[in-house]
Each structure stands twice: as C-alpha cells, then as structure tokens.
Symmetry: D2
Subunit: 425 residues, 4 copies
C-alpha cells in the first residue's frame, strides 16, 4: 500500500496535478520503516479500512507537502486493490515457477519410464496394463494446462484500481484517464476499461484457477500416496533428512504428497470464500464481501503455492520401483489381460461371446489360483481361434507400450512448446 501511495504521487506529478516537490515529499514519506505496524493494525481494526490509519501514520510527522498531497483523489479501495494486485503479480510468478518445476519433474519421469509397464487401476481395481510413462505424461498435461490458464489470466488481472470513492475518479476531472495510465505505467500494471470496485468477476476467475491448480496438485499427490501404499509400493518419496515416524521406525511416509494434499484442501476453502464473495459485491462497494478478500486472497495464494511446492518436491525426488510395477501386474495372475483376451477373440466370435468367454476364463483363473494365461491356453474356445503365438501376443502387457509411448511423446511435445511460449517467471 505504501508503494501504491508513492506511485500515485509520482503519477499525479507526471500529470501536473501536484507539484514535483510535493510528489518527492510524498515519496519520501512513503517509507515502511516509519510505521509502527502493531499500532497500525490495531487502528485498522476499528476503521472501515486499513488505509485511513495508514495515511494518517504516513503523513504524521511528514513534510507538510506530503501531508497535503498523499492519497490525493484516491479512495481506500484504490490503494488496497492495487496493492493486492502487486502481491498477486508476485504470487502468480511464484506459482507459475512452481508449476513449471513440477511439470519438468513429470517430463523427466515420463521420458525415463516411458515404456515401463504397470497396472492401470479403475475404482481401485487392477484393470488393464498402462505405462508409468503415460501416467506421468497425464500429470504433465494437467500441470501444463494450468500454466496456460495462468498465462491467459495474467493481463486480465494485473490492473490498477483508480476510481475514487465510487469509480468515477471524480476528483481528477478530465485528467482521470491520464492519472490511471501514469500510475499503471509506474507500477508496471495495466488499466481496465472500467473501475472494478464491485465487479469482482476477475477475482472469481482467479479463484477458479487457483482451485483448479490446487486440484491438480492434490490429484497427483493422491496418486503418489496410493502408489506408495505398503501393499503397492511402486513409488516412494526420497528419504532425504526427513525423520521417520515417531513410533513406527519402519514407515516410509509420503510426507510431501500428504502436505500437498492438505494444502490443496486448505486452498479450496479460501477459493470458495472468494467465489462466494464475488457474487455478493453490491452497488459501488461491498459491505463485507470486499473485506473478506483481504484475508482470503493472500491465503489462497499461499496455500495453493504450498500445495504445488510440496508436490514438486515429491516428484523431483520420486523413487520408482519398476520391478515392483511389473510384479504387481503379474501377482494378480495376469487378470488385467482379460480385456485384451476378449478383444483378441472378438473378430472371430463377436463382442458379446468374446466378453463372456473371457469373463468365464478370468473367473476360473481367479478361483483356481492359476494365471489367466494358463487358463486361456487350456480353453478350447480360445485355442480354437488363436494359436499359441497369437494368444501370447494378445496377453502380453507390453502390447500397450507403442500406443502409450505415442501419447507420452505428444505430451512432451506440448510441454516443449509451452516451455518456449510461456516465459519463465
């Protein structure tokens, strides 16, 4: 806020609305070091906004010219909102950097484990083979899409607010546009068509974006937690210097993924506050919905950035047990090939018969503890239409690799393109 008051004075001087000396005096007065922050916070609690006591504190003991012109023509909301946008710019940079880092870690995982076969799981059940490369590529795609959304939002959000008491910037008269432009230039921000004191739809869009980002972080972190379960054990977080459990020294907790999930939940709470607040701004300034943003917006940014940061750490150090992936696939007797078996039979017998034959064989294999392969190889409905080689080919989980690999290549190509197109922050 102090930075905004100083920039406003410079802008007013640039537009010749206040003398250059006055601007210099204001800028000199705008020194955070002069403030007693605790006293200021206390006074803010009894005012409608923190700006009133801030202006008082900055002008108190300052050069009379500063006292005369500091905050000239502005309303509290101009200062609070523009200051918020300055914070938002930094936060969006941090967020973008962290998403990019997590995406880079996914790209590395996708390349390194492109052809590693593992179980795909639907509703918690092993379903059909996939590759770990494809899984990492899907994570990558979601992260990259969120960077695109942030990039789309940036110019729509990073705007000065300068409308005076009710959006008309009446005090500046015909110079209102010039002052807003000068202020925006000074701060490196844009200018909106219209004042946005009570139109907070842009912040609603931001809240939706943050919620989506936190959601991507949570969703990937959930995959990590599930894959790290004792009975699955396909991935583990790097041990680093993280202490073990206080009571269970053997545990290998997915600490960063857990923290990412917790932070994402917390972020959603604040995003929800912002979305509801945006709907409730009324007339020329809201009586409650605006004030809630003061807390919820920075908190939403911190929590979202926390979720992405912890996820990035989990991904960057992720240990992948590719042997266990293959073993888990086999341990269920190769039942995940039942879809492939049905597909291989379909040309000869039609889909319904193929499905029912494959289903029966799978059930028999599961009940008897033999593998699907053996059960299929001893079933005449299968051997009547598929020879041994064809059957082996159909049941080989590696059959998924070529297609999955092409999908990975696509995600990596998109990632490379975005890395070039979206500037790193």
């Amino acid at each position: 806020m102090v930075e905004v008051e100083a920039a406003l004075a410079r802008a007013l001087a640039a537009c010749r609305l206040i003398p250059p000396d006055a601007a210099a005096a204001v800028v000199a007065a705008c020194d955070v070091g002069r403030l007693d922050l605790v006293a200021l916070a206390e006074r803010a609690a009894t005012s409608a906004t923190p700006v009133i006591p801030l202006v008082k504190a900055l002008t108190s003991g300052a050069d009379p010219a500063a006292a005369a012109w500091l905050h000239h023509g502005a309303t509290s909301q101009d200062v609070v909102d523009t200051a918020t946008v300055l914070q938002l710019r930094d936060a969006m940079d941090l967020l973008d950097t962290r998403i990019a880092a997590a995406a880079a870690a996914c790209a590395t995982l996708a390349e390194r484990h492109r052809d590693v076969v593992m179980a795909g799981r639907t509703l918690g059940q092993q379903a059909v083979p996939v590759t770990f490369g494809l899984k990492a590529a899907r994570w990558l795609g979601a992260l990259d899409r969120r960077r695109e959304q942030l990039d789309w939002l940036r110019p729509r959000l990073l705007l000065v607010q300068l409308g005076g008491s009710a959006g008309t910037a009446a005090v500046y008269g015909d110079d209102a546009d010039a002052v807003a432009s000068a202020l925006a230039d000074d701060l490196g921000l844009g200018v909106a068509d219209l004042p946005w004191h009570a139109e907070r739809d842009r912040l609603a869009e931001l809240a939706g974006a943050l919620d989506a980002i936190a959601g991507v972080a949570a969703s990937i972190a959930t995959d990590l937690v599930l894959l790290a379960q004792s009975e699955v054990a396909e991935v583990a977080e790097a041990v680093g210097d993280a202490p073990a459990s206080s009571a269970m020294p053997h545990k290998r907790n997915p600490v960063d993924a857990v923290a990412a999930r917790a932070a994402a939940r917390l972020a959603r709470g604040e995003c929800h506050v912002l979305l509801a607040a945006a709907a409730d701004h009324e007339l020329e300034r809201a009586a409650g919905a605006w004030q809630a943003e003061w807390v919820a917006l920075p908190s939403a940014l911190v929590r979202t950035a926390g979720a992405v940061g912890r996820l990035g750490r989990a991904l960057a150090g992720l240990e992948v047990d590719t042997e266990r992936m293959r073993a888990n696939l086999e341990r269920e007797g190769g039942l995940t090939a039942s879809e492939a078996l049905a597909a291989a039979l379909t040309p000869a017998v039609g889909r319904p018969t193929a499905q029912s034959v494959a289903g029966e064989i799978a059930a028999r294999a599961a009940a008897s503890g033999t593998s699907l392969r053996e059960a299929a190889a001893s079933d005449e409905r299968v051997t009547g239409v598929l020879d041994a080689d064809a059957l082996a080919a159909a049941l080989d989980p590696s059959a998924v690799v070529p297609r999955a690999s092409r999908l990975v290549a696509r995600a990596l190509a998109t990632h490379d393109r975005l890395r070039d197109e979206l500037p790193s922050r």
Copy 2:
C-alpha cells in the same frame, strides 16, 4: 450416450475396424425409442455405470451384427464423458446466448441512461454521485468478460473421450488415433492430446467459470434488489402478468432478480462439488469423484443458465425511475458532494485541511437539517477560497457526467467489438 455409441460404430467403420454393415446395424439399434428408461435407471443403480445396462438394452433384440460390435473397444467412461461433452456443448451455447441477451439489455440501459445522475453507495451509505449509465456499463463489462471466458474454454472442453479401460485405447491398437479422430469428426468435437479419464482439471476450470458467471448474475441481481427497496425505489421489475404477493397486494417484488440470486446460490453448490471432485480423481478412474460429476455437472449448468436467464428477464423489462434517483441524491441534503467540496478546497488549503473543513460542514449540515450547499455557502473557510460560481460548480452532482460518460462509451465499444468477434450461438 446412444448418440455416442452410434457415432463410434460409424467411426470404427470409417477406420475399417468393423464392417460397414455392422456399423449400420449398430446405428439402427441405437434408437432411444427402444429403451425402457425406468427399467434402465433401476439397473444402472446397481451397476458401476449406466453404460453396462444401456449396452445390454441396446443389443437386446437387435441385429446380431449390432450386438457383436456395439460399444467395441470403448469403456463406460468413454461413453459417459463424450455424452457429457455433447450436453455441455448445447449448454454452453444456451449460456452464451443468455449472457449475450443480458449484456444487450445492459447496453441498452447504459446508453439510454448514460447521463442520469444518481447516488453511488459504498457500504450501504450514499457516497458520491455516479450515473446509472455507468452502473449499467459496469454490469455490461462483467457479462462480456464472462462471454470471453466461455469462448476461451470452448475448444479446451469440447473433446471426445476415447481411451478404453485405462486411457490407452488398447483394443484399437495402432488405429487408436484414427478412431478417435473419426469419432470426433462425426460428433463435431475435438481430440485431446491425452486421455482425460482422471485428469479433470478442465472440468474444474469449467466449474470456476460457471461459478463466476453465476456470481455476476447474482451480483447484478443484488443491485436490482437493493435499488428496488421501498425506500430507494429507483428501479422496478416490469409487472407483466406476475401475480402480486398473496397477502400484501401493494408489494412490487423483484421476482426475477430474487430467482436469479437463488439459482446462483444453487449453482455455486454444484460448482463446488465439481471443484472438489476434480481434486480427488485418482489413478486411472475415480471411485466416487467421477460418479458425482454425472449429477453435479448437468445440474450446475441448469442452475447457472437459470440464474442468467432470470437476470436477463429482469434487465430487459427494467423500469428506471430517474426522477427518484435525483430525488434520493437530494434528499440527503446533497451530502454526497462533501468529497467534491474537499477536492475543490484542496488546491488552496491542502488535502488534510480541506478534508477536515468539508467534514465539519457536512456534519453541521446533517445535524441541522440544512443542505450541504447552504452550509458551505455560509462558511468563511469556503467562501474565502471559492466564489459562488465555483462553489456551485463543485457541488453540482452533474460534474460526474463527462467522466462517467467516457467510461460508458468504452464499455459499449468493447461490447460492440465482442458482439462481432464472438459468434452468436
């Protein structure tokens, strides 16, 4: 879903994966009229998805070729998700049409009442004069921005899903990309880089957009409710054939605005379900988060479209009492000019003195029941620096008109541009 199954058969035939006759048989079987919807719903409740009983019902009694090839290579989620996207396309069209209609009504209001002076109100208190044109222009801007967001989202959302059981479309082998493209062409949709069975960040972005749209509708509707209050009475909804209150025949309830606010609240609930669900999709298919979308997504669209539709009706017929606007401004003794008074005094005495003088005069006027104008004209601290003409000019609420009018012009220019750029749906 029936449409998707038919399109899939055509796509498979186009890729020569099934015979043309089989495709024709599938298409013939895909007739909604053949379904017992109640029985289907009951069976769906005991299955993991509605697709299993649907496929059974469509193939039952159908040509054997249809039974053999219907649903070939697809998983339930392919059908449900693609069908959802088809609904979404229609819903987004409807939503865009309704937002455009509400925006057009705002543009008309902004033009017609461009220079009508009224009280700007902050925290419920009359603050400084604004124009009704500016208010309508601000509503317009928010609505137009939401159309831009929908336009940005459209190609990111309107995508087929065709990944088979775990996203690899394994059954189609090397033809997987070709089948997906053919299906997309058939349905007029796009193709995603990657399967999105468990990456629902796009739906989170949609939920954020719907919440923002509903929020804009609610925020404008709230303005209407507040301006229609008995004691304010600056706007009223068209009476039409809406019956009066059951017990209070004199009331003029803002029925459409109230309905818009209620629908927007309801929409937010479903958007929140979607945002939370997107964060909780796991592995290759979610065990609960996906299924919740089946209800929440269509409901969110209906509720959001309802909110915008009711708002549009309220705006289209809005009665604006411009005399009452002026009278309300005067009734408070012209106190809303106190900021302007302070601004007029500032060049001569500096901002702090000017503010305190204006404040004292305003307080004296309020306490004595005289107008600010009279109180200022009899105060030497004012008359010493402002002559009668200058004082009158400073206190004239119409002084806001030129600046406000330029802002209105900007919003209308943006609106015109978007009307050309964004195709009407």
Copy 3:
C-alpha cells in the same frame, strides 16, 4: 402444501375463526388430484412463490366458502416452510432408519470379526496391527453418534411456521398463539417461541448434521474402497446380480461404496448451499436465500439418504477375507511389530535407544528381505535383554487383541443402549 392448507382450515375452525362448514369446504378443495401440476409449475416460475398459483388453483372451481377462507391469515412462507418441515420429518425418519441399518451391519461385523488381526495403516503405510473388529466398531461409533445428533435435532426442527407476512400473525389478532397450536397439533409438529421466517440457524444446524452424516458414510465407504483394492483385497462387496465391468470381466468393483462416496460429495454441495443461505437471510424474508432452500433442502436429504443407503448395502453384504488380512500383515515381513519391539526394549534401555535399535533392525530386515522376527532374534542388543519367549510375545500381532476387544465391547454396549433409547422410526 395442500396438506398444510387443509390443516390450517381445521385449526382456524377449531379456534372458531372460520365456520366449521368453511373448514370442511377448504379441506375438500385441498385435493392434489385437482391440480394440473405442470401448469402450476409454470405459473410458480413467474411468481415470487409457488403458493400464489397454488391457492388460485385450489380455490378455482371450489366451493365459494373454500375460496373465501383457504389460506386465511397465512403468508406464502408459512405454507412453504411448514410443508418443508413435513417432508423433513419423513426424511429424518428414513435417514435414521438407514443409519440404524448401517450401524447394525457394523455391529455384526464387529462381533463376528472381533479378534481378527489385520494391519493398521497410517498415511497409507502399514503401521501396527489392529483388529477388523475394532475397525468396524469405530465405524459403528460414528454412525451411532450421528443418530444421537438427529435425535437432538428432531424437536428443534419439526416446528410449524405461522407468522403471516412478517412473523406477527397479525391477521389472527389475539388468537394467533391458539391457531399456531391448533395447526401444530393437527400436523403433529411443535411450535417455536418465535416466527423463524428469517432465522434459519436451525436449518444451518440441520445442514451441518447432514454433512456430518454424509461424511461418516463417505469415510467408511473410503475404507471399503481401500480395503477392496486388488493389492489389498481384504474385503469385497457381495456380487449379487451387479453386472461386471463392461470391458474388464475380472473386476470386482466396490459399486455400493463408490455410489455412497459420490452421493456424499453431492450432499455436501447442497449442505453448503444451505449453510451459506442461512447466513444471508435478511429482515423479515430473504430475497434469494430462502428460495434456494426450496431446491437445496430436499436435494440434500435425498443425497444424504442415498449415501447412507448405499453404504448400508455395502456393509450388509460385505465379504471379509480374514486370511488375507493376516497374510498382508505377514507379507511385509512383520515390520508392523517394530513399534512393539521398541516398546519391549524400552524398560531396559530407555525410549530413545529402544527406538533407534528397533529402527535399525527394521531397516535391515526391509533391506535384506528377512522378517523382523529373524532380524531381531539375531541382534545382540535385543537378545541381551529379551529371551526368545519374551521376543516372540512382543512381536506377536495378536497381542493387540485383548485391548481391541475391550474397545469393541464398549462400542457394542453403547450401540445396545442407543437401540433401546432411540426409537426406531
């Protein structure tokens, strides 16, 4: 609503405010069969409430005495709110019945598997042994507590609304209390101290309760989904006649648990609408917050009851694989006994040394693939303080049974008490 109008007429007659014949005429007119519900819905959409067209429809073509007295002295909100309470009563009964059924299933599981040892899992990692009986008992406790909450809420919620236009029931004059009592008696409801047209804190409390109930259902259902994972496979839902996956015939999907989780998510959305609405009721009747309740409240009840119903079905037919539970515990080499090992060493060497020795042994066992038991038996720091029997006792997972069994007994005792205290609905 029709039922409420009829009851009101009887109450007015009982208080001698309308003639008995008029009451009889009103009751005769209050016949749902006389209504064209589609036309009524359309008219309701353009009115502030559905009651205005309803009263018109009921009086149209009715006995003139009915037309003269139907809805006498009531406001729309009286009818809508009281009708809502009637629905709520039925819904609370259904909900209580379903929670009780799910609790009974848990009690059976807890008794039957009281002493079955299995892995306790924290953060997804096997931690220490627990019993399945204890797990079921914890589920039971949560369900029983929710019944207690419903029981506490019942008399606080099941209240008539009869305040007329603004809560004063002015039309009835001195008879207002008598009419309210008579109406309440007629409908079997209570009477509140005060009108509650705009004080919706009771509904907020209900929404909190529904959210808590849905949360319990979701939390238990999540346990079922996790325990049913292919790699864990300790429980499975009864197969019944649920069809298998469309593409993966071998899968054993936890269909009911998944549906319970989905329904609980959906319930939360509506509860959130209700909680937000309760905060936004203003003055004597809300302009939007009240109307949102019309949709959100019944929907919240349906969704919550759906979640509990599906959970109950999952629990009632649950297949428990106690051998697999034991095998999973062993498969990790008995590492879950590391806490017990540390505890056994503590008296001799102090907690820090005990923890670090146990940790080292666990790490060595995990790295070498031997069991914790073997690794401990060959470590002098252990054998120096524990003889073979003491070591075996310390590492026996069954050591948890006595304490867990006492906890189960407590939960069952509480359950039995509540079954007696809380009437079945």
Copy 4:
C-alpha cells in the same frame, strides 16, 4: 503440545508405568521457553508431523530420564489432537462468552424498544408493520439457540486422544484405559469410548456449529447494514473513535457489522474445509485430511469468534432512531396496512374479494400519491362494511404491538432461563 507431553508423563507415573522421578524430569523438560520455535517450524515442515521435531527438541539437553520417557507410548496424533482439544476448550469458552454478550445486547434492545413500530420488509419491500422489539427478540433467539448447541457439543468434543499408532494404545497393554483416564483427569477432559484418530464426525459437527454461529452473526449484521442504509437510516453504529471515510467525511459506515460479515464469510471457508476433511479420513490415519485440520480448525475458531465479537460491539452501541422507523412506515403512504385492510374486510366479503378490493385501493393510493387511509376512507366497498373507527383501528400499525410484545416476552423468558442454566465461561 508441550502441556500434553507433561500431562502424559504425570499420568504414566500415576499408573506406575514410569518412575515418579522420570515424570518429574519430563515435566521439567516440557518448558516452552527451551524451544527455538522458528527452527522447530522449519523442521516440522519436512516431517510428517510437528511432534517428531518437538520431542527431539524437548529431549535434547534434557535429563536422560526425561529423554527416556517423554512421549512414551504415544503417537504424534495423540499429542496433536489432545493439544487441539485444549485450544478448542478455550476457544469454545471465548465463543460462548461473546455469543452471550451479543445476546445480552439484543435482550436490552428488545426490552427497550419492545413496542416501537417499524416496517417489516420482505424481499426488500415494506410489507406489514412489525416492532423493533420483535426484530431484536428474533436475533436474541438465534443467538441463544447457538449457545445451546455449543453446550450440547462441549462434552462430546472435549476428549483426550490416546490410542498410540493405530488407536489400540498397544504399548500400554492392560493399562491403556487407566492411562487415558489419568491423562484426561490431569487435563480436565473426558475420555471417548473409542480412539477417534480417523473418526472426525465430532469435528464435522463442530464445523457445522461454527458455521451456524457465524451465519447467525452474519445474518444479524446484514440486518444492521440494511437498516443503516442512508435511505433507511433506522439504526447506526456508535461513532466511538472510529475515523470517518478517507474520502467521504459525511459517511456513517456500519464498520463493526461489515467486519462481522467479512469474518463470517471467512469462517465458512474453514468450516467447509473441516466438513470435507471429516469425510475423507481413511483407515487408521488420514494422509492429508488430518493435516489440513491443523490450520483450518484454529482459523475457523478465530474467524467465528471475530464475527461474533464484532457483532456484539455493533449491537452494544447501536443507536436506534425510533422516529425514523415510524416515518419510514408513513412515508410509503401507509401501504403496509393493505394486508390489515384486507383482513378487516374479509369477514364481510370473503378473502378473495377482500384481497382484490384492498389491492385496488393500495394501487390507487400508490399511483395518486395519497395515503392508503384516505383512499380507503373514500371507497364505498370499505365504508359499506367498516365505520370510521373500525377502519382507523384496522389501519393503525400499532395494532401489531400486543402480539409482537408477547413474542418478545417469550424470547426474553427463554433467554433468562438459559442465562441460569448455561454457566457463563
């Protein structure tokens, strides 16, 4: 947490599980002053819980006996959860005190202005007369009900957690119950039937209660904001030393009510996090849902207490302009008596005719700018059935007073009863 570790040592000594000297050493080590809180926070960020580094820090440099026995048999969650309950107890006391203070202010307002007639407003429109006493009594009722809910919750929430790693308190063997009881006694808390590491339904119930409390605060604060609007001006907050608006010296902002509304919105966000988290706790300890509680629960308490505190301040100093209340009622030409007019005509002509006559007269009065009284007095359909005195009595807004006054008395009687029954905290 430090307090819990100390109490645990005392409890263990009381149960003779550790020597008295060891307990004394632990208690001595449990000195917050010995902690480097910043370093602790940093280490906590890389651990699964803050307890691991806390135990390390407390034992570092402590008496060896302390190091040997501090945290004996407990898991991190035991310490975090029990410490949370200690905070919760203080917070619930604070909250109850603040609700009671706000309720007391309402009781004073209800008594003082029991018979002050004002406009009741539905959907923002003047509807029928009410009294300000009744309005304050309705606020009072909602606040008192929330105290009752807190009282119901208190014994259900204020419970120790002591289950060890997975709820079985295995390390304590047969002494587990005794240790839990001793710990509970030491801390003045209760003991639950069962461990509640993953059953968070009690916290969901708390979150619902906090949301309901915040909602009551918001709803009353909204009434204050609406009644304080410039055009209504029936109430105003005490000016105190709150500075005026920065740019608009004449404004009388409802600062405390606005802050209460903002805080209540923020509280709802955290309550929603807690409700969602409760639904997602899994198995023996949640991987994310639990950790989110660490932030959301204290924040929810702070925000809710903030909302109630600011509301209490607004109510305690509320200035009530009873003349303006009467004037606002008159200013609309007495149209709020139209319901009463219809009621007075009903016995003679039946409800439909009475309503339509009253409606026509009200419309004529509104259109011509005369009062309802005059319009009615000159209408033969009225004068034919009501003489001048009867008409005057019917249209007198004071007719509402007796009934409203009885309602106020009821609310005050309940309030007095609760003041006696619920101990002040």
